[in-house]
């Protein structure tokens, strides 16, 4: 996924994906430079990360469902994040008004990594719960159960069994109830 991450007005162009070969690790580049990135511990709204061997704690605060502040080292950093590859619709909405942004962002289930759809557990019209397994994705030679990141009614399914998806592809769309 290609993310534009803005910290205190400074922009960083970040490319991020799961590292299939190393546990808890990610393949990441920041402004084209490779970075060693590993999750040491994850809790709700906070991460302990190793970035180039530097292990630190980051806490995330949200407003209207979007991360807008990172607490780190007793400082509070203003951040703004955009998904550049996939979220053209979202960006359009964002530009039309921040009020809609929050709603628009949390209705789609995206692929966490490249892979092949092995099974689909929901169909259009179904209600899904947060954390409910919605599909099975074959990736990295394993079957991965993909849980819903959203709560709502399924409005559209963009994939079918056998499809190949890429990192960040929108697989399922929903609407809030």
């Amino acid at each position: 996924m290609n993310i534009l991450s803005q910290v205190n007005e400074e922009n960083f162009d970040i490319e991020i994906a799961i590292d299939p070969n190393r546990e808890n690790c990610f393949c990441a580049t920041i402004d084209g430079r490779e970075v060693e990135l590993k999750i040491i511990e994850a809790k709700p709204s906070s991460l302990t990360l190793s970035i180039d061997g530097c292990v630190r704690f980051y806490e995330f605060y949200k407003e209207k469902g979007r991360i807008n502040t990172v607490a780190h080292d007793n400082r509070f950093f203003k951040v703004r994040l955009r998904n550049r590859q996939q979220d053209q619709l979202e960006q359009l909405l964002e530009e039309f008004g921040a009020g809609m942004g929050g709603t628009a962002t949390d209705t789609r289930i995206m692929a966490p990594m490249p892979g092949k759809i092995l099974g689909l557990n929901v169909k259009a019209g179904d209600k899904v719960q947060l954390g409910q397994v919605v599909l099975v994705l074959e990736a990295m030679k394993m079957e991965n159960e993909i849980s819903s990141t959203v709560e709502g009614k399924v409005t559209k399914i963009n994939v079918k069994v056998g499809d190949i998806v890429n990192n960040g592809d929108i697989m399922i769309e929903t609407e809030q109830l």
Binding site: A28, Y58, F60, V70, R75, F77
Partner: protein
Amino acid sequence: MFKRILVANRGEIAMRIIRTCRELGIESVALFSDADANAVHIVMADFAENLPGNSPAETYLNIDLIIDICKKYKVDALHPGYGFLAENADFAQACADNGIVFIGPSPQAIRDLGNKLKAKEIARAAGTPTVPGTESALTDVKDAEAFAKEAGFPLMLKAAAGGGGRGMRIVRNLEELPKLFTSCQNEARGAFGSDEIFIERYIEKPKHIEFQILADEHGNCIHLGERDCSIQRRHQKLIEEAPSPALTPELREEMGATAVALAKAAGYSNAGTVEFLLDQENRYYFMEMNTRLQVEHPVTEMVTFVDLVQAQLLIAAGNPLHIKQEDVQIRGWAFEARINAEDPLRGFVPDMGTLKRYLPPAGGGIRLDSGAYEGYTIPSHYDSMVGKLIAFARTREKAMAKMLRALDEYVITGVRTTIPFHSYVFKHPAFTSGNFHTGFIEEHFSDEKISELMSGSGEGESNEHIGLAAALQYYMERTALITTNEQQDEEASLRWKLIHRLGSTSYLPR
């Protein structure tokens, strides 16, 4: 010695006092307002009594109720801490009237030294240099003008009953004097209930140097060296150190002797602090005397090894001083940084809230006087101090390095604190040089600068890591790597409380 004392205070200073009581085998009775039911000092004390309500007037300033509790628990003595009733002569008198030893000076000494004009008079009589100024209260601006014509500008108008930086006006010329005179008089009347004001020379770019003294009830008095409290913002001390980088041993001895002479002249007993202004030419002027334990007393404890609360208790119980002047040695250097919960992005208003993650610093040479813990909610009714971080080492340089290390180590989330501000100051050349005065903050830190520090602006390298961390969290939330549920965080910090109305007879998460 006392068998049981009541601690008429809250938070870290109550804990500080209770600790010494426990070490001496004295029982302690703590007090707590409704908002302080989560405070640690009440669990630390042998007994704790609720003061219903939250406002200071209902609780920690409620003289009648506190005296009643003293009687209920049959305490021998009462320690007032600092703030609240610590410098209230009527309260000290009420204790005496009820047979409770007030751990502090006599009501008369509190009263005399609480009035700035009276205190200056005592100082002059004791031979202590004072800031040139009018010797009695002014009622007419003409008297102020007469003084101004003789002394020149700048001058300072002060409320006699003022304190903590309130009730003061700097006057730069004759034209603005009448207007400032009236406004100072009005503030004095409104804030302190007395319109007594006076005028004196304004000392520019002074250092704030204060001497810790101990006096017993048998006429013995010593000093424990000085503290340099020049780092202030809007007259609130932020960083204190002992000794002061500005004092030579000779000047220390001279000023210390002066402070002792003044305390003796005032008939002072127990612990007290004589505050001086030290000008650019190292001339010193008596400013005021604080008739209580100071917030910043730990730096003196660290460098002298004297437990000041223990000394207070011993003195109040009628013992002669357990140390002599020649026993007092300065054995190193100590700093105190006051860590406050404040939000610089909203004009430094207190940023009260719950401490989500809390990891206090520790290790050799570090002392942290604090009532905070993970999950603690800082009540909004009192001050915004989270803790006093104290660093001690053999030299000033090493103590600064230790403080910086401890500030780096200190993790607090949930509220914004002044930690980043302190980290910046302890690296600032003007501070590390020791060559600073009370205008340090105004000179080097605009409010914008401080808010920049707090938001981490201008720190290129860490911005990159922040950007990456935020992107990872975003990536995981957007893909199916993590299931976020805004409720979970709430659940993780579920706190249960007995609801007050019995109408719903179950515990509910608040």
